[in-house]
Symmetry: C2
Amino acid sequence: MSIKIALLGCGTVGTQVARLLSEKNALLSARAGADLELIGIAVSNLAAERDPAIDRALITTDAAGLIEQADVVIELIGGIEPPRTLIRHALESGASVVTGNKALLAEHGPELYDLAKEKKVDLYYEAAVAGAVPVVYAVRESLAGDSVKAIKGILNGTTNYILDEMTTKGLTFDEVLATAQELGYAEADPTADVDGFDAAAKIAILASLAFHKRVSLADVDVEGIRSITDADIEAATKNGYVIKLVATATQAGGKIETRVAPSLVPVSHPLASIGGSFNAVVIEAESADRLMFYGRGAGGAPTASAVLSDVVAAAAKKVLGGRAPQEIVLGESEFMDAGESVSRYFVRLQVADRVGVLAEVTDAFAEAGVSISAVNQEVDGQPGLAALAITTHAASAADMAATIEAVGKISDVHEVVRVFRVEDE
Amino acid sequence: MSIKIALLGCGTVGTQVARLLSEKNALLSARAGADLELIGIAVSNLAAERDPAIDRALITTDAAGLIEQADVVIELIGGIEPPRTLIRHALESGASVVTGNKALLAEHGPELYDLAKEKKVDLYYEAAVAGAVPVVYAVRESLAGDSVKAIKGILNGTTNYILDEMTTKGLTFDEVLATAQELGYAEADPTADVDGFDAAAKIAILASLAFHKRVSLADVDVEGIRSITDADIEAATKNGYVIKLVATATQAGGKIETRVAPSLVPVSHPLASIGGSFNAVVIEAESADRLMFYGRGAGGAPTASAVLSDVVAAAAKKVLGGRAPQEIVLGESEFMDAGESVSRYFVRLQVADRVGVLAEVTDAFAEAGVSISAVNQEVDGQPGLAALAITTHAASAADMAATIEAVGKISDVHEVVRVFRVEDE
């Protein structure tokens, strides 16, 4: 038996997928239980230069024609269109689809899941989240016997690399970004990465799987890392924290909270030591307790590893029958109000360096019902000013906002420099 | 549709499985696509005390009769018999089987895989390796598109706890073992854990899956932790290492090497920080590069999480059709000769404290072709003696054995105290 595979897109990941489908064909075919045959690679530009591993006879611009002959379609084009139309066409033609397209799934996943269900084919997307780290499998299959309470992850390698370089080399955001762009670690337009949207799409996908509710990109509260300064990093380091862009999905009392924000992670936390372009995901489940998965979150070969695992699974189902785990939607999604969100906080203030200011500030916290766990005072570079770093116990976002407003009105408080959330140990 | 589940064994894990099958029935049934119905729990002693979560009406001593009515049989008795006979009976009756029985699989896995294949049912065993950490899924499914080169893991929580306590509290092996037995962290007969056989069974299972070769417990080179002294731990710490019981499976040039041994792990290595009863597995794959998984390796609820994920998968296949990934055996297993095994080493010697000894020792290393990367000399507690700690570059076990023999013959070398393998960064 032979399984016909169509590849849409031939960029970094597509090239590795085509190469491995050829080089590892015997092993992958043995696992799938059928010969895996790459029948074509659809591209937009026939004349573009290609890696020598690509068989040019397979290249075509007729994506629709290619799709119609395939049992399994791999979409690695990226972006919303044409992938959305092409994936719909594949599912309608009875092919199972493997995609790494997080943006498409986070915005239009439900219509594709529904179509796959209707057509009795499967949609796989391990490569859409955390590259080679099998976190989609983990949430969808490995934890099918458990209840996920929270997922926290470092899901974007570019921002993790930038924060890492800022921390270890004392460089500014702009300096590191420029170097990252030169080295190809960051895109010419870095918005999706540095403003948090890439991580947000991924956490929306994981939240949907974990909680069996529909969560889209628009439901995620997103803050990026552009505004992080060397002073922020210095203050975090001094207080035993590392700044990480943390993507969070939690469900409590039936309400979902999804967020991407630069957060202070205690140095002893498993996410603190995840450096460079690595991704990591910590899952808190009711029975399993804490699990962590980590590995390469991007790159041609690691992402191709995830794509090909999905291809083997899709092909095996075509041979042996059966279906992939189906999307389960347990009722409407209910989201937590932003103000209800509970966290520890780290607040940096610039205040007048004189007796009594600290008491005024701590009074303001107490009046808003926010309990303080630590205060550090340092003389600021500027004459007559001092820097206060205040760490709180868990407080609601609403109480914290009220506190900050009250503190900002104290005449000896020159500036509320920064408010960060703090991850628990 | 209803899927009838039989539970064999009602110990710590079995009790949690029964509890969760009841408490989480709606969620688990939704994921399986069918009502999951626990039809009975087979035990050996009807009169034994049970957790209040157990419905006593389900308890029976007639395991065989129970099996014959079931679609899915969960075996949590442990040991070779009666589980082997009962699992064979279940597969022959057309039930899929979920087991956490590493010892059985590491010794008799192939006959059970063959029987399952013949009867067109499935055998699941996520709970057999690393408790809640989904490493069987990872190797069997998540990495189906890749080629695993090496697996290194901390797969036994009891020994990891003992080594951890010895390191952080300066206690002896016997002291920690006694406390661990009192606290229920170690068995009354701790042999399977402390002598490395539990970890060996697990790495044999993972090696079989990763390399598609049959690897049994008897193929694993096993060394436990009974002989680890506080002096070993002190020397490791001084040189930037942590002693861990590391289980290793590698394949190179078609030859497999599987080993469990106390090894020196650099403090910067991801396995170094895995403390207490946690398990962790690092997988090196060709495309994915390095992945790590970590979580609770034992305990009722975490292991039940893994069991129930397998139950959901087994039930879903009964509903939707299809099969679990089949055992793939790609030819005969070829094992590396013990002498060919390559590693870095750490050697501690007790020598006479006088000029010229160091030169004699390093000459002996050089003559055997073993290259030294570091030497640390310290005055020993005893007058006239010095302690040498020598770290080597990668060397074959045969060359290392020849070196140790030669060094042992030097008259000023009083004792070759210890030889450890050293993990790479």
